[in-house]
């Protein structure tokens, strides 16, 4: 790779890459996202590589891409230019795909997506309902490139926004463009990005730092992971543009320890960009210099908070500090620091390339562009979805997500992670944007959307989040450290059937105190999951307190498993699977559960073919 020193160099490079790519008649893309990895995509890819390596067929290119979104149907294989979409591909399917589809152009029915609504097999990605209603501006390129190949990124127009920014625009002009686009921070708080950049640019200081937050601690959200894993150059390009606009000379990408592939791919991208002259001194011959390195996290949720993250990069304990002085003025080592989330950075090249007018034409009045959500939990199609702001929850959950998973009615969706709340199904007509979600007691957060059905207990969910936050509280300030602990105790009591009439009012009072008096965002928003659950699902809490009953049959202290004599065939499957031998019975005769031994793991219910095991 030779150094790119001008726009014409970049154009020439792109032309050469495209010419090379045109030699291939077909591109086989195997999804290499983490979800597909769990389903064995690496074996599928290796099998393809082996078979293609052997044959004299040099017209087919094999590509190992980043996450394609529909993780639940992995491993996913697509074939271009035909646009064929195969799902749940296994090793044994590889020879068949090569001989039939690649060789003869025949489509293999058993690998196609089955649309459960129309009962039709669907050939291409575009026709799958999961993708149809999406607008994959940021995520879309994941399927078109191999994350470890900078050439693939250049081929889809990568680093052209950077060239435009460095050579045709001044720093202020870039900031004005980002401001005009209406882009707001995708990490959760939704702060206007252009405004932040402007503040950092204006802050006095000779050295300024640029930080990319890939801590993504919100449980149930993984879009940042998939972006940094699948398209690291887009994040890098955004950061370089930002650095030029702000006047930053050095950058960090802070990656969670749980995301090893994301840091590896980001590291590779940094090395490639340096070699190509897109990082380092005198980028594209503009005179501007900037470099980036990776900083790794250590598994602390609070480090998603900007001041804690900065402490962590400095090699210290990740405790937040008061934000009277903002990080744009005093951040890393006391220098002005501009911190944005992965998805925010990845939006920047799009805005520069296509213009703010185009960007702001998508979305609502105050929330522009698209947002990536991780649609997970009790919904049929789980995965990453990118939709224009303002789309309704109903459309996301029922049209894209395909609705309920296993016969149980969907009752709520949790957004915003531990800082957000549960939104009941009655409010599913709500448009998804920063302000509407906050208005109903939740928040956008980084984009987790966890669907809950009748089998989800809201007391259990509230308890889960409070314990989560209690464990992740850094312990620096008292309201968060102690308050959450006491809230957890009250919720434990309710879940065990030991709550009383005062429990709920005490819980509400405590939640408000924690929210009002905590130091950082972790504590300030900690009340949301509890208060929203109480606001919309109070009868469930009352059932636990007054009738000692868990309506969703989740809270183990309040439920009991039993075997119906009439339905039991005596097959013995339950007794075999029971981990503590709490089930006895003779063969072909009705079995019974010894309640004093039963650990309520539910395995017996899972294996019973005649639905004789019931739980109440």
């Amino acid at each position: 790779m030779r150094k790119i020193e001008s726009v014409s160099d970049l154009e020439k490079w792109k032309e050469n890459i495209l010419k090379k790519q045109q030699q291939y008649e077909m591109v086989l893309s195997v999804c290499g996202g983490t979800g597909c990895h769990a389903y064995g995509c690496k074996k599928v890819r290796d099998q393809f590589a082996k078979a293609l390596g052997k044959s004299s067929n040099r017209k087919v290119r094999l590509r190992f891409t980043g996450c394609r979104g529909l993780c639940e149907r992995g491993p996913i294989v697509t074939i271009q230019p035909q646009g064929i979409f195969y799902q749940r591909v296994q090793e044994k399917d590889v020879p068949l795909i090569l001989s039939e589809t690649v060789g003869k152009g025949k489509i293999l029915d058993h690998l196609l997506y089955d649309d459960s609504v129309t009962k039709r097999k669907v050939n291409s990605e575009k026709e799958i309902p999961f993708y149809k209603a999406q607008n994959r501006l940021v995520l879309g390129n994941n399927g078109l490139l191999e994350p470890t190949k900078i050439e693939d990124y250049i081929a889809v127009g990568g680093y052209h926004a950077l060239a435009k920014a460095l050579l045709n625009m001044g720093p202020e002009q870039i900031i004005d463009e980002v401001k005009a686009s209406g882009l707001r921070g995708r990490g959760g708080a939704g702060f206007p990005t252009g405004k932040k950049w402007e503040d950092c640019r204006r802050a006095p200081g000779d050295i300024k730092y640029i930080v990319c937050n890939c801590d993504e601690g919100d449980p149930g959200a993984y879009m940042d992971r998939s972006l940094l894993e699948g398209n690291p150059h887009s994040v890098l390009e955004g950061m370089i543009i930002g650095a030029y606009a702000i006047g930053g000379s050095h950058g960090y990408i802070y990656v969670r320890h749980e995301y090893p592939l994301a840091s590896k791919n980001a590291e590779t991208a940094i090395i490639q960009a340096r070699k190509a002259g897109l990082l380092g001194k005198d980028i594209l011959g503009s005179g501007f210099g900037f470099d980036v390195e990776i900083a790794k996290g250590g598994g602390a949720f609070v480090c998603g908070e900007s001041t804690a993250l900065i402490a962590s990069i400095e090699g210290r304990v990740g405790e937040p500090r008061s934000k009277q002085i903002h990080t744009v003025e005093q951040g890393l080592w006391g220098k002005p620091t501009n911190l944005n989330n992965v998805e925010t950075w990845a939006n920047v090249p799009l805005i520069i390339k296509e213009g703010s007018e185009w960007f702001s034409s998508i979305g609502t009045e105050r929330s522009k562009g698209t947002k990536i959500f991780s649609l997970v939990g009790k919904v049929k199609n789980t995965g990453l979805v990118e939709v224009p702001m303002g789309i309704t929850l109903k459309k996301i959950i029922f049209e894209i997500g395909g609705g309920q998973q296993d016969g149980k009615r969907i009752k709520a969706v949790q957004t915003g992670g531990p800082s957000g709340g549960c939104i009941p199904a009655s409010l599913f007509d709500l448009p998804v944007d920063f302000d509407s979600l906050t208005g109903v007691g939740s928040m956008m957060g980084s984009g987790g959307m966890i669907v809950m059905d009748e089998g989800t207990c809201m007391v259990d969910v509230a308890k889960y989040f409070v314990h989560f936050l209690q464990e992740e509280s850094c312990g620096k300030c008292l309201p968060c450290r102690e308050g959450l602990k006491r809230m957890g105790e009250i919720l434990d009591n309710i879940a065990e059937g030991k709550g009383d009439e005062e429990s709920l009012s005490l819980l509400e009072e405590l939640a408000e105190v924690v929210a009002d008096t905590s130091l950082c965002g972790l504590g300030k928003t900690a009340a949301n999951p509890v208060l929203s659950a109480l606001r919309y699902f109070r009868p469930e809490f009352e059932a636990h307190i007054r009738q000692r009953r868990c309506p969703a049959v989740v809270c183990t202290s309040l439920i009991q498993y039993s075997i119906s004599e009439a339905d039991c065939t005596g097959c013995g499957a339950c007794a075999k699977v029971c981990p503590i031998q709490a089930i006895t019975g003779e063969k072909k005769k009705s079995h019974r559960i010894h309640l004093d031994l039963c650990s309520k793991c539910g395995s017996c219910k899972d294996v019973c073919k005649s639905s004789a095991v019931t739980v109440q």
Partner: protein, 160 residues
Amino acid sequence: MDFEQVGKIIDKHQEKRTALISILHDIQDRYHHLPEEALRKVASRLKMDLNDVYGVATFYKSFSLAPQGKHSVTLCLGTACHVRGGPKMLREMKNLLEIDPGQTTQDQLFSLNVVNCLGVCAIGPVMLVDGKFYGEMNPIKARKIIEKIGKNKRKNGVKS
């Protein structure tokens, strides 16, 4: 235990204080925990107070001061895994291995850990065994995976 590698790891990170967390990660990858001797060496080479190094080593959940077992079993307890039966998985693993999260079995074969999200939310509940992800788990499937590893290893004898 040979601590020569610790010096090499610190060299690799150019003795940078900023790299403390990365250094500790590398040490943990090599020794399966953070031995006291290694922390002392890190403190002296980075010219830091041992208390501060210890503070970092105990603040972040990824680090362990106690030796970890040969096989690591990590359960995801993120929200998506939670609503799909994560707690059942935890109960099963605690029963099966007879340890709590953060502990290691007496024969040093398994360490059980929980994390708040592994970022593979679409296919929960998720279990991570020695770096390999297992999706759509239930207690029965999980038990089989662990028992298979345990059987093979115990049969062949455990090398400490």
